[in-house]
Amino acid sequence: MQKLRIIKSRFVPLKIENVDTDQIIPARFLKATTKEGFGKNLFRDWRYENNDESKPKKDFVLNDPAYSGEILVAEKNYGCGSSREHAAWAIKDYGFHAVVSSFFADIFKNNALNNGVLPVQVSESFLQKIFGQGADSELTIDLDKQKIRIDNTGEEESFGISPYKKTCLMNGYDDIDYLISIKKDIEEFETKKQSENSKTYQSA
């Protein structure tokens, strides 16, 4: 996984609440057996008229040439619904490295972190300040300092992340590397659990 530290970029404002993962990547695109190539179908049904790539919907922000960047900014409760990790893969494959919202659904947050996409949860008022910025303004997200800044105005806010996840992202490790490294503990636990279980059951 790529190491993450500072993301300084313009942003794409998605002013929609409760964006569910069925919108991020509709079910019909889940038939792949690899993790690549989902970006072109990100927000597919919001992006194109009648599922036709030659007919982009003009009023959808991804089709607005004024906006671009590595940061997606969305209204509250982003990523609810289905647990499909494809939603995080699509976000990443499209080129976003961070998603900013005032509230994230649990599974999406986890999936994003596991794929090197940083979910940045900000206050509702800060979120609205970001939405108030023009298309050419930039945000700076500093993972180490856990700060997000609106570059134009200098306003900033801190965000939370578990220290463990932070270390993983900054060093490009993933959870599986860690779990494999403690396999001995897992095996010991299994043995203990088995003998404990048989004791519990017998004494009852």
Binding site: K15, I16, E17, N18, D20, D22, Q23, P26, A27, R28, L30, K31, A32, T33, T34, K35, D45, N51, E75, K76, N77, C80, G81, S82, S83, R84, E85, H86, A88, F103, A105, D106, I107, N110, N111, N114, N115, S162, P163, Y164, K165, D174, D175, I176, Y178, L179, I180, I182, K183, D185, I186, F189, E190, K193, N197, S198, T200, Y201, Q202, A204
Partner: protein, 485 residues
């Protein structure tokens, strides 16, 4: 409904049980934590792992890339459900990508020694239907699957929740994932349900009250006299939809109903082992002095047959109610509300009852068990569907289908003009060819009414099997109570 928030952060809880009482969740959680990472999550041990064709291929590829084998194949069970056809399952799958996914699952399971209940197998079915039905799902277990409705299994007093594909790979590699302990919420439902009101209405009512994100960050325990009176199937419907209010999962303490359901099933313990396990299962309940971060009380008598009108499951109303008018909607929510109604082709303030529909879908891991089919059959017996609706009944598993045929339920459906198909997820998410056409209305017993969920442009109204059946007969959104004698 009333709510209490416990802000007391110094909860008298200690993981070795020496403090105050423990919740059902904590009793199981504590038994499965291998270690806690400093400043991070805990290493959480998984007893059972279900996999299916859609969220497993990339995980298997990950294992293969790391050059490792699946760690505990005996604790993993696979089925093909999400994109399988529901007609002519004996023929090769026509749609190429679906076929490739199902074939990849077969190959991966064979290579890694995983038991697969694939197409054609008598145990095939929706992953959350077959686990309980085969007696694989048991109290006290930790269960995960790369599917958000894994919460269904919590009805047995298990900690069960959906995970992403990276986590599927973690479980395959190590039988563990990393988890932080969620906050705990308890929802009490007490009292007697009204005529025509079933468990689906309970959960739609709850979600409409607390919203589609109202339980985010929480694991929910359902309790109270109403829950106790429900069958296992009905309890599964409730736990199933916990995720639709944002909860990580839902659970219900096991009791005689649970034990009777499990007893004698294919993979249930028997003989001496049954007795030992049973004694343990009986210790699985929240202690009287256990503390929850939030408690909600609901009076069962207030619940009416429910239906959704919008594009998230929190947008539900009693079938006799009206869609909120603009003045009833919070200023901040107005834009999403209007967007949602535009998609649905509905107007603020209008009544939902009497709305003409085109399809009725009875199926999905929420409501496709034998009890659901029996409920529908006993209601439609001797009646005929309205000419303007097409009715699909998709059993949750091969076993459910066989049982329905044995009981003559298939005949009742045939006479009513309902089409009994073969098992799978089907129009719940429209990954196979069972899609609702754009612009059409479908009253569905599934769990999600998101835009395009049942097919691009499809308009979904979520309801109970009884309300769906009544709608099928009248051709319009119906109040089932008017049709019950």
């Amino acid at each position: 409904m009333n709510e209490t928030n416990k802000t007391d952060s110094s909860r008298a809880y200690s993981s070795n049980g020496s403090g105050g009482g423990r919740t059902l969740f904590e009793k199981i959680w504590d038994k499965h934590i291998i270690k806690k990472i400093e400043g991070g999550p805990s290493v959480f041990y998984i007893d059972k792992h279900f996999i299916h064709e859609v969220t497993s291929p990339q995980a298997f590829t990950g294992l293969n890339n790391r050059g490792i084998r699946l760690f505990r194949p005996k604790q993993t069970v696979a089925t093909a459900d999400h994109n399988v056809p529901t007609l002519h399952q004996e023929l090769p799958i026509k749609e190429e990508l679906s076929r490739l996914q199902v074939e990849a699952l077969k190959k991966n399971c064979a290579e890694h020694g995983v038991e697969l209940y694939g197409l054609g197998h008598p145990f095939q079915g929706i992953v959350h239907v077959i686990g309980p039905e085969l007696g694989i799902t048991q109290p006290g277990m930790t269960i995960v699957c790369g599917d958000s409705h894994t919460s269904t299994h919590g009805a047995f007093g298990a900690i069960a929740f959906g995970i992403g594909t990276s986590e599927v790979e973690m479980v395959m590699a190590t039988q563990c994932i990393l988890q932080s302990k969620p906050k705990l919420m308890r929802i009490h439902i007490d009292g007697v349900l009204n005529k025509g009101v079933v468990s689906k209405d309970i959960i739609l009512h709850i979600i409409s009250k607390i919203s589609a994100s109202g339980a985010t960050g929480y694991f929910v325990e359902y309790a109270g006299s109403t829950i106790r009176s429900l069958s296992m199937e009905a309890r599964m419907t409730i736990c199933n939809m916990s995720i639709e209010m944002g909860a990580r999962g839902g659970m219900i303490a096991p009791d005689e109903t649970t034990f009777n359901y499990i007893k004698g099933r294919k993979f249930a313990p028997h003989g001496e082992e049954w007795e030992k396990k049973l004694a343990y299962w009986k210790t699985l309940y929240s202690d009287a002095n256990a503390k929850f971060d939030k408690e909600i009380n609901i009076n069962a008598a207030e619940i009416e047959p429910m239906i959704t009108y919008g594009t998230n499951p929190g947008m539900g109303i009693p079938v006799t109610g009206h869609i909120p008018s603009l003045s009833e909607v919070d200023e901040k929510e107005k834009a999403s509300f209007e967007k949602s109604l535009r998609y649905m082709g509905l107007e603020p303030g209008m009544n939902i009852k009497g709305k003409k529909v085109d399809y009725v879908f009875i199926g999905s891991c929420t409501n496709s068990r034998i009890e659901d089919l029996r409920m529908v059959a006993s209601f439609v017996k001797g009646k005929k569907k309205a000419v303007n609706v097409e009715v699909w009944v998709v059993p949750g598993s091969r076993q459910v289908e066989m049982q329905a045929r044995e009981e003559g339920i298939d005949k009742i459906f045939e006479e009513a003009g309902f089409m009994l198909r073969q098992s799978g997820c089907s129009a719940c998410l429209g990954m196979n060819e069972d899609k609702i056409p754009a612009g059409k209305y479908c009253v569905s017993t599934s769990n999600r009414n998101f835009e395009g969920r049942q097919g691009a442009g499809a308009r979904t109204l979520l309801a109970s099997p009884l309300t769906a059946a009544a709608t099928a007969i009248t051709g319009v959104v119906a109040d089932v109570r008017e049709l019950l004698n």
